[in-house]
C-alpha cells in the first residue's frame, strides 16, 4: 500500500479503525485532541461510535462497557486525563477486559504543561491504579509505529485479556511523517465467550466482575493473572538494537528520546566512540534479557529520558547493577539535544559519571 503523510495522532486513530475498533470515548486535552477530532469525523460514517464523554472517568467506564460486550474499544488522553482514568484501568485489569488506552504524554505533575514528556513511565509500567496488575505498554518512536503499535496493542490486548497502553508523547503525536497504514480487519479474530451479549436463553449468565470477597478466591485470581503476565513476558518483548554489536557505551531510550539518541550515537561514532542504542518498544514487558546480556560487555549505560529518571530503575534491575547507568534527561516539556546525549556518552566512555 502507498504511504500517506499523517500526524502521529491521526495515524493512531486510523490504525484503530482499521483494526476493527468502532467505539471511541474521550475528553478533550492537548496534545492528543487530533485523535478525538479524527474519530468524530470518521466514526459516524462507518457506523461506529464517537462520544465526547463528560470526563475521563466516564470515558474509561464507557470503554469498560463496550469491552464487556466483547467489542474492540479505545480511549485516548494526555497525562492529567490518564490520571483520572486509573480507576477504570484498574477495573479493566481486575475484570480481565481488553481495551486500548492511549497516553500522549505532556509535562507534569499537576496541570504541568502541554509540551512532550515521558514522566508517566512509572504510572504506565508499574500499575498506575490500585491493586496488582500490569498493562501491556507500547512506546512508538515514529508515526509509522503509532499506526503499527496501535494495531499490535489491540491484538495483544485481546489475546491476553488485559488492557494495553500506547505510551506516546507530544512530539510523536504532533509530528507528520509518511506512514503505511495497517491492513483492515474486523477485529474479531479472538473469540470472546465471556462477553455479556445477552444469554439468548442458551447459556448460563456471564458476569464481568472484579469483586471477590473470599480472600482465597481473590488470591487465586491474582495468581492466575500473573501466570498470564509471565507468558506475556516470555513471548511479547519487543526492542530495537542500533549499532550495539561492538558498542562500549549503550544508550537506552524509547520514543522521541531514542530518535535524539540515534543522532548522538552517529556523532559519537564519528569521534571514534563505540556507542549503541537499545530502544525498548515494549516498556512492559521490559526488555530485561538484552540489557543483562549487553551489560556483560559494555562499560556502562546511559538512560536518556524525558523524566527525572524513571526507566533507569528498570535498566539497573535488568543488569543487576553490574555496570554504571548514567541519566541524561530534560523535563517539563524540554527534550535533550543530541549534543547533551553525546556529552553523557562521552562521560560514560571516559569513566566520568
Amino acid at each position: 500500500m502507498a504511504k500517506v503523510l499523517m500526524k502521529g495522532n491521526e495515524a493512531v486513530a486510523e490504525a484503530a479503525i482499521r483494526s476493527g475498533c468502532r467505539h471511541y470515548f474521550g475528553y478533550p486535552i492537548t496534545p492528543q485532541t487530533e485523535i478525538a477530532a479524527y474519530m468524530a469525523k470518521r466514526m459516524p460514517k462507518i457506523g461506529g461510535t464517537f462520544l465526547q464523554a463528560e470526563s475521563e472517568i466516564s470515558a474509561i467506564n464507557m470503554v469498560y462497557g463496550v469491552s464487556s460486550a466483547g467489542r474492540r474499544v479505545m480511549t485516548s488522553s494526555s497525562s492529567p486525563g490518564v490520571s483520572l482514568k486509573q480507576e477504570g484501568i484498574s477495573y479493566l485489569a481486575g475484570s480481565d477486559l481488553p481495551a486500548l488506552v492511549v497516553n500522549v504524554q505532556r509535562g507534569g505533575p499537576g496541570l504541568g504543561g502541554i509540551q512532550p514528556s515521558q514522566s508517566d513511565y512509572f504510572q504506565a509500567t508499574k500499575g498506575g491504579g490500585h491493586g496488582d496488575y500490569h498493562l501491556i505498554v507500547l512506546a512508538p518512536a515514529s508515526v509509522q509505529e503509532m499506526a503499527d503499535l496501535t494495531a499490535k496493542a489491540f491484538d495483544l490486548s485481546d489475546k491476553y485479556r488485559m488492557p494495553a497502553m500506547l505510551l506516546a508523547d507530544g512530539t510523536i503525536g504532533q509530528m507528520m511523517e509518511p506512514v503505511e497504514l495497517p491492513p483492515e480487519t474486523d477485529g474479531n479474530a479472538v473469540e470472546k465467550p465471556w462477553a455479556v451479549t445477552g444469554t439468548e436463553n442458551k447459556r448460563e449468565h456471564n458476569i464481568i466482575n472484579s469483586l471477590y470477597l473470599v480472600p482465597e478466591q481473590l488470591e487465586v485470581k491474582n495468581l492466575e493473572r500473573y501466570e498470564r503476565y509471565k507468558t506475556v513476558e516470555q513471548n511479547e518483548v519487543m526492542f530495537e538494537e542500533y549499532m550495539t554489536e561492538d558498542c562500549d557505551v549503550c544508550v537506552v531510550a524509547f520514543g522521541i528520546a531514542a530518535r535524539v539518541s540515534k543522532n548522538a550515537i552517529t556523532a559519537a561514532r564519528a569521534k571514534g566512540i563505540k556507542a549503541g542504542l537499545i530502544r525498548p518498544i515494549t516498556l512492559w514487558p521490559f526488555p530485561k534479557d538484552i540489557i543483562a546480556k549487553t551489560a556483560e560487555r559494555v562499560k556502562g549505560f546511559v538512560s536518556v529520558e524525558l523524566s527525572m529518571g524513571q526507566m533507569i530503575d528498570d535498566i539497573r534491575l535488568a543488569e543487576s547493577c553490574k555496570k554504571p547507568v548514567a541519566l541524561c534527561s530534560r523535563v517539563g516539556g524540554m527534550i535533550p539535544s543530541p549534543d547533551e546525549v553525546l556529552k553523557a556518552v562521552e562521560d560514560m566512555e571516559g569513566g566520568k559519571f
Binding site: 463528560e54 464507557m62 464487556s68 460486550a69 445477552g198 449468565h205
Partner: protein, 250 residues
C-alpha cells in the same frame, strides 16, 4: 395444584444476602418480574452498583456487569452503544447515583441514553455501615452526622427526580415506594414502563424507589416502613416527574 407464587425466571437460585426486612429484595423481585413479563431476559444486560446491591450480578439471571462506584450509567452507555438491540439496565443506590456518580447520571440523562435506571433511595450508605447519603433527610442521624444532618454545614438532600426533570432530554422519570402493597403495585408498573420505554427506543428512563434500611436506620423492619411513610415520602413526593411521550401525545 396451581402455583400462585413462584420465583421470577429472571432471578437465580442464589440466596439474597440482604438484611431481614430490607426492601432491596422487593425491588429485585419487581425488576425480575418486569423482565419476565416483557420476555427480554435473553437479551438483557444488567449493571450492579457498588453498594448493598453489589452482588446483584449473582441474583439476576441475565448477563451482568459489576461497575465501579457511581460509574454504572457510563458503563451502560458503552454497552448500549455497542449493542443497541440489547436491553441495558443499571441498579444503583443513592450514594452511587447521586453522590460519586452524579456526573455520570446527569450526562447519561441529558444524552437521553436509551437505558433503564433503577435508583434505590434509602437515605443512607447501607453497605459501608450507615453514613450520611446525599439523600439523608435534614436532621437524620447517621454515623457521619451523629448530631443529625445539619443543613447549614452539609446542605440539603438532593432530590434526584426533581433535578433531572430540569433537563430537556430524559424520557421518563418517576418516584415510587415499596412500603405497602399499593405502592409496590405502582412501583411494578413504573419499572415495567421504564423497560418498555427502552424496548420502544424512547430513551432514558429512571425510576427512583424510596426504600428502607432497617439495619442502619436502627429500626425494626415495620418501624422502618412506617418511617418511609411518615418522613421519607413527604420529603420525596411520589409521582411521575417526566413522561415526554405522553406530553407530546397531548
Amino acid at each position: 395444584m396451581a402455583v400462585v407464587f413462584s420465583k421470577p425466571k429472571a432471578l437465580t437460585d442464589a440466596p439474597l444476602h440482604y438484611c431481614p426486612g430490607c426492601t432491596h429484595g422487593i425491588i429485585h423481585r419487581l425488576v425480575a418480574e418486569a423482565i419476565d413479563d416483557l420476555g427480554i431476559i435473553g437479551k438483557t444486560v444488567g449493571i450492579a452498583p457498588v453498594g448493598c446491591a453489589v452482588m446483584a450480578y449473582d441474583y439476576f439471571a441475565c448477563d451482568m456487569v459489576e461497575a465501579a462506584h457511581g460509574r454504572a450509567p457510563a458503563v451502560a452507555t458503552g454497552l448500549k452503544r455497542a449493542m443497541p438491540d440489547r436491553i441495558i439496565f443499571t441498579y444503583q443506590g443513592d450514594g452511587d447515583l447521586a453522590s460519586i456518580g452524579m456526573a455520570e447520571t446527569v450526562h447519561a440523562a441529558t444524552r437521553n441514553e436509551n437505558i433503564t435506571v433503577i435508583f434505590v433511595n434509602n437515605a443512607i450508605y447501607g453497605m459501608t455501615g450507615g453514613q450520611m447519603a446525599p439523600t439523608s433527610l435534614p436532621g437524620q442521624v447517621t454515623q457521619t452526622s451523629p448530631y443529625g444532618r445539619d443543613v447549614k454545614t452539609v446542605g440539603y438532600p438532593i432530590k434526584v427526580c426533581e433535578l433531572l426533570s430540569a433537563l430537556d432530554a430524559p424520557e421518563y422519570i418517576e418516584r415510587v415506594a415499596v412500603n405497602n402493597v399499593k405502592n409496590v403495585m405502582n412501583a411494578k408498573k413504573a419499572i415495567k414502563k421504564a423497560f418498555q420505554n427502552q424496548i420502544d427506543g424512547k430513551g432514558f428512563s429512571l425510576i427512583e424507589v424510596v426504600s428502607s434500611c432497617p439495619t442502619n436506620w436502627g429500626m425494626t423492619p415495620q418501624k422502618a416502613l412506617d418511617w418511609v411513610e411518615s418522613d421519607m415520602i413527604p420529603y420525596y413526593p411520589l409521582g411521575v416527574y417526566r413522561d415526554k411521550s405522553a406530553k407530546e401525545a397531548k
